[in-house]
Structures are given as C-alpha cells and as structure tokens.
Amino acid sequence: MFFRAISLSICMVLLMGALIGCGTPASDHRDETPKEAETVVDKNKDDVTITFWVPGADEANDTYFTNVAKEFETLNPRIKVETTVLPPSGHDINKKLATAMLSDDYPDVFSSYLGIFRARSPKGEFYDMTEYINKWSDKEDIFEGALNMGTYKGAFYGLAFFPAPEIGVYRKDYFEEAGLEPEQPPTTWEELAEYARKLVQRDNKGIVTRAGLDIPLMNTAIFVRTMMKQNGSPVVDEEKGEPSFTDEGAVETLDFIAKLAQEKVNIPFDYQKKVEIPFVKGNSAMSYLQTSQIAQMIVNDPSMKEKIGFIPVMERKKKVSFCGYRLFTIGAKTQYPDEAWRLIEFMMTKEQMMERSKQLNIPVVRKSLKEEFITLNPELHKTILEYVEYGKGAEAVPWVSSLTKKLDIAFQEAYNGKKSSVQALKDAEENLRKDLEKKK
C-alpha cells in the first residue's frame, strides 16, 4: 500500500513536471515559429522582439544594460528587447554562441569581446553593417582606431563601443623606497628594464618577494606582441593574411623580454588569469592592468589612489599599446536588422556613452566627448585615452589563437634557453604557416 502511494505520487510529480517543464514562459517570443513571427511583422510592421546578449560583469554593468534596453523600448514602443546577461568568461560565451549558431538561435544584437569577434566574423556569423554605418551621421565622430576594430576585409561587422586598454601602472611608494623619483615613470624600454632591476626585492635565498615588473611566464603572447609592434614588427601582415614576426624588431623584442625575465625581476604568473597578477596583490612595482582592475584596487584600498601612477604609452619605433574592445554586432541570420541597428545607434548616442563612462568607467570612443571624459578623472582618463588612441587589438585574422599559441611556445623556448630568439621565432612562424596550409 505504502509503495503504491509512493509510486502514485512520483507519477503525479513527474506528470506535473512534464506539463510545466515542457511549457515555456508566455512572454517568450521564441515560442512563435518564425513563420508566425513573420506574419506578426507583416500585419503590423511595428511589433517585433529582438534579442540582445551582453557579457555580464558586475552588478552595475548588468543593471545598466538591462535598464538601457528598457529605456530603448520606451522610446521605441514597437520594438521589444529581450536582454540576456551572459557569463563573463569568453569560454562560456563561445559555447553558447556555438550552440546558438547551430540551432538558428543567434542573438539579434550581441556585445562581443574583440577576440570572439575576430574569430567569428570570418565564419560569417555577423551581419554586414557597412550600409548602416556609412549612412550614420555620427560616423565621423568615432575614433578611427575604434571604427577600424569592427572591420573585416573592408566591411563593417561590428561597432566598437567599449575600449579596454591595458595601462602601464607603477607604485609610487615602491619607487620612493628604491630611490627613484615617484613622479617620473619609465618612458623607454631601457628605463623600464633599469627600473625593474632597481625595484625588484629578493629574500636571502634569492627568491623574488616583490617583482620589479610583471612579466607573465604563461600566456605571454599579448605582452610580447604589443612590444614587438612598438619595435616596428607587423607581427601579422593583415592584407596578405600571413604571419610576419621573424623581422629584426620582433627578434630584438623577444630577446629583450626573455633576457629580462631570465634576470628574475618578475614573479611568474599566467597572463590569462588576471586575478593572479602580482601587482594587484601589491607584490610588484610595475605592471599592465585593465582599467576595471585599477578601479577595483582603489575600491579595495582607497589609499591606492595616491600610490598608483601611470606609465605613458611606450615608444621604440612606434607608439603602440594593447587595447581590447567590445563591439556591438548583429547576428547574420537576424530577421530584424533595422531594429537591431536602431538599438545599437541608441547605445552609441553621446548621452548613453557618457552615462556608461560615469556609471561603468567605460572610456568614450567619440571625439566630441574626449574633453568631458577627461574632466571626470584628469590623470587617469588622459592616460586611458592615450592608450586607446595608440591601441591595437588582436590581429584581424581568423587564426589569431594559433598565432598566440606559437608565440607562447617561442617565448618559452627563448626564456628557457632552449633556442635563440631568432630560431624560436623562425620555427614558430614556420609551424604556423604549416598549420595554416593544412587548414587550407
């Protein structure tokens, strides 16, 4: 009897679960078949629902993007925006995009990291926005560097709105301890190396207790690439779509970094794991950090505001910095490109851009907002804009992740003394070319 009752209740629960579970919320526009959705649009051109995917960050970021979509809805009553805040990890986002692509469930508007954009735009996942951007009256007001970030083979597939430069920072108090002038950051490579040697602290066994400069020993490629570009190396010939990092500038750069790391002026860390950067923990005197990390350090310890100084963009043969971006993109298979563009246009207005700067510390990409942005925090924002101005992101080739891997290997080989820098880079380029050939 007891088991009959148990069995019956299990069956009831399962049946209820199946009934409730199979149903999707009434507000879900995805319940409509595309055919039905099209009919709705045909009958009344004004009523559409677009999906908007945005990577999550902190509460302020998630709230802003959710609210801004609502604000847009109020101004455009015929367009409903369904916002999805994604997990912040690029790995998780890629999983979602891969399945969305296969199931024709790709978002209408997607705020993409530059790396994801570079890897996915050659696969035809994004809508060609060239026509919209060329007709857009505010196009001329956008920084040229930011505009170029969204191009692939001459066409616009994205519109950069969120520059994320990696800014050179140093600890003024550590400079003072080492007898260096706290208001005079290094401006050349030679100064950078010399200061690192002076700033490093070791215990009596020779183990580094405080790094002079943060040099990552894992996932070093971004660090290496930026300096190679400062030294005149193209790294990638984007026009031909070929690797190009065996020139004199590239070799000299790898040699410089590997030798400095061999001198042990740094504490080893993984560049991908931003939370482990020694500078953030107070274990390093100089580093390259994203603005959000600097802001968080100041939140954690307000005295950091006075202690952190900024290193100007380094120049050897060229002034180059690393600047990641986030871009607004439109899904290639969207049924509503006009509405998607309208949402992007709204996000790119001066008001929204300034709002993002104030609320989320996101640098502006409009020339006309430059001064206003600087007045918010003169010292930091001036530096940020300099880094944005000279910023280069990941290379515009679909094989950027292979490039990164090969350069990582080259650095390891040079650092461990297994190969000379010339040989390590030659081998890396040759292997990369072979891989690309195989893929062809």
């Binding site: 902190d58 999805t84 997990p87 399945t99 296969l102 107070g282």
Partner: protein, 287 residues
C-alpha cells in the same frame, strides 16, 4: 593489543584524511567572511583580519536568488525522481528478465558510460531543439525551438543514465532466483514483483543514486548554460557567475554564495549517508 593499535592508527589516518578533505571547504568559509582587501593582500592569512558576515547579505541581495534556488530545486527534484524510477525499472529488467538481445542492449547502455559528456552535448542540443511537436515544432521537428529555454530541456538529458542502470542491475543481480519463484507462486506478475518485492528492498541503492544524481544535477553548469538564455531560468550554478567579470573575481561574495548553495547538498548527504554507504557496498558484491 595489536588490533587496538591498528584501530587507533586507522582512526588517526581517517582524521588526517578528513581534515585534508575538509580543508577546501574550510577555506571557502574563511574566504566568505573576508574583505577583498584582505584576500588580495600580499601575505595570505588564515584568520580574517576583519570578519564580514555582511558578505552573505550582499551576495544574496544581488540577482533573484529565490528564483535561482526555485529553478535548481525544481530541476533537481524532478530529475532525481524520474531517473530513480527509470533506472530502477531498467536495471531490474537487465538483471532479472530474460529476453532476446538483453546483453547486447546492456553493452550499448554501458557504452554511454564511456563517451564523455562534452562529445554528446551538441548532438543532444540539436535533438532537443528539433524535438517534434514541442515548443512550436512541427511533426518533423522544424519551425520552433523545441525544448530550448524550458525546464524539460534541463531535465530530460539527466533522467536516463547508464550509470544508474548499471548500479541497479548490479544490485538486483545479488537477489536469489528463488525470490522470483516465490513471487510467481504468490501470483505476482513482473511489474508487481518489482513494486512489492524488489523496490522495498532497494532503499540503499535508491538513496545512493538519489545522492549522486542530486549532486550531479545541482552542480551542473554547462548544460543549463547552453540550453537556457533567460535570467528567470538561471540555476544557482549559473547565478554564481555574477560575482566575476572578465578580469576580476569577487572571491568573498562568490564564496559566500557558494557556501549557501552547498547547504542543500550537505543536507541530502547527511540524510542519505547511512543508505549511501550500504548501497556502495552492496552493489559492488556479486551474488
């Protein structure tokens, strides 16, 4: 005397092992009451410089946690109940019934144990997306979204499972053949034999699988991530991503939220502990 010394040594070893196992949990608790300044300070300290219980309130006030818990509880309860029912019946059939192709079918089921979940994830997604007559789909599975963005989409892949079938089969193999004969003499058919004889004797194995399935479903991250896109469908594991961004992790809030979401699992384990151990032991002994 020797026996006593051995027992004492064993106890000490168990204690050391327990401390070793509990250490990550202890670290989680400690981190959950630290400040971020404390966590990121150059020198690591076990004892927080300042104990901040407010981290728990701050973590739980971010996002819609009652909803996330509701989703996780709903998905877990349905999954566990359904899988217990299906796996026990299937295990019983493989162990006690003789039918053509039984062993081949069992081997096929076992193959499921050997294929990594990541391999089957995409095909499974496409199957659920194109499931006929669900979520606006036609009979050919076209036109709609199938089980995407639904609870059923989160539940169905976990309901069946080779491991559960294997566990039940091994357990039911221990029973003497005379038990079936006695049931038949008493006039019970196959189904009734299962319900009145086998199921009541299977408490340890039900508890074992319930504990394992609960853990698996409760801690699953990737599948809910790809099958749902809406905030109100988020499970607790997905909600944890709120405490990190591209470059920063708010360890104190993340650990506070993690502590809270592990509590249901601890309760389940404490309740099922007795049967769980019994189940592990009995299913491993072949009769």
């Amino acid at each position: 005397m020797k026996n006593k010394t051995f027992k004492r040594m064993l106890a000490v070893m168990m204690l050391v092992l327990s401390i070793f196992m509990l250490f990550p949990y202890f670290l989680m608790l400690i981190t959950s009451v630290k400040t971020m300044g404390d966590i990121q300070s150059p020198s690591f300290t076990f004892i927080p410089r300042e104990v901040v219980f407010l981290n728990y309130i701050e973590a739980m006030s971010r996002g819609d946690w009652p909803r996330y818990f509701g989703n996780s509880i709903y998905v877990t309860v349905i999954t566990v109940l359904a899988s217990l029912m299906l796996n026990s019946i299937t295990g019983y059939a493989f162990a006690r019934l003789r039918f053509k192709g039984r062993d081949v079918l069992f081997i096929i089921a076992l193959i499921g144990l050997m294929v990594p979940r990541q391999v089957t994830m995409l095909p499974l997604f496409i199957v659920l997306k194109n499931f006929p007559l669900v979520g606006g789909n036609s009979i050919l599975g076209q036109g709609g979204h199938g089980f995407i963005n639904s609870y059923a989409g989160m539940i169905l892949p976990y309901v069946a499972g080779s491991f559960g079938v294997f566990l039940f089969r091994q357990f039911y193999l221990n029973f003497p053949r005379s038990l079936d004969d006695a049931a038949r003499i008493d006039g019970l058919g196959r189904v009734k034999t299962f319900i009145y004889i086998y199921a009541p004797l299977s408490k340890p194995i039900f508890a074992t699988l319930a504990a394992l399935k609960t853990t698996q479903t409760w801690t699953e991250f990737t599948w809910p991530l790809i099958i749902t896109s809406k905030d109100h469908m988020k499970t607790v594991q997905l909600a944890l991503t709120m405490f990190r961004n591209e470059t920063e992790i708010q360890w104190n809030l993340l650990m506070a939220a993690t502590t809270v979401i592990t509590l249901p699992l601890i309760i389940v384990f404490l309740c099922a502990q007795k049967y769980f151990i019994q189940g592990i032991v009995t299913s491993g002994i072949k009769g």
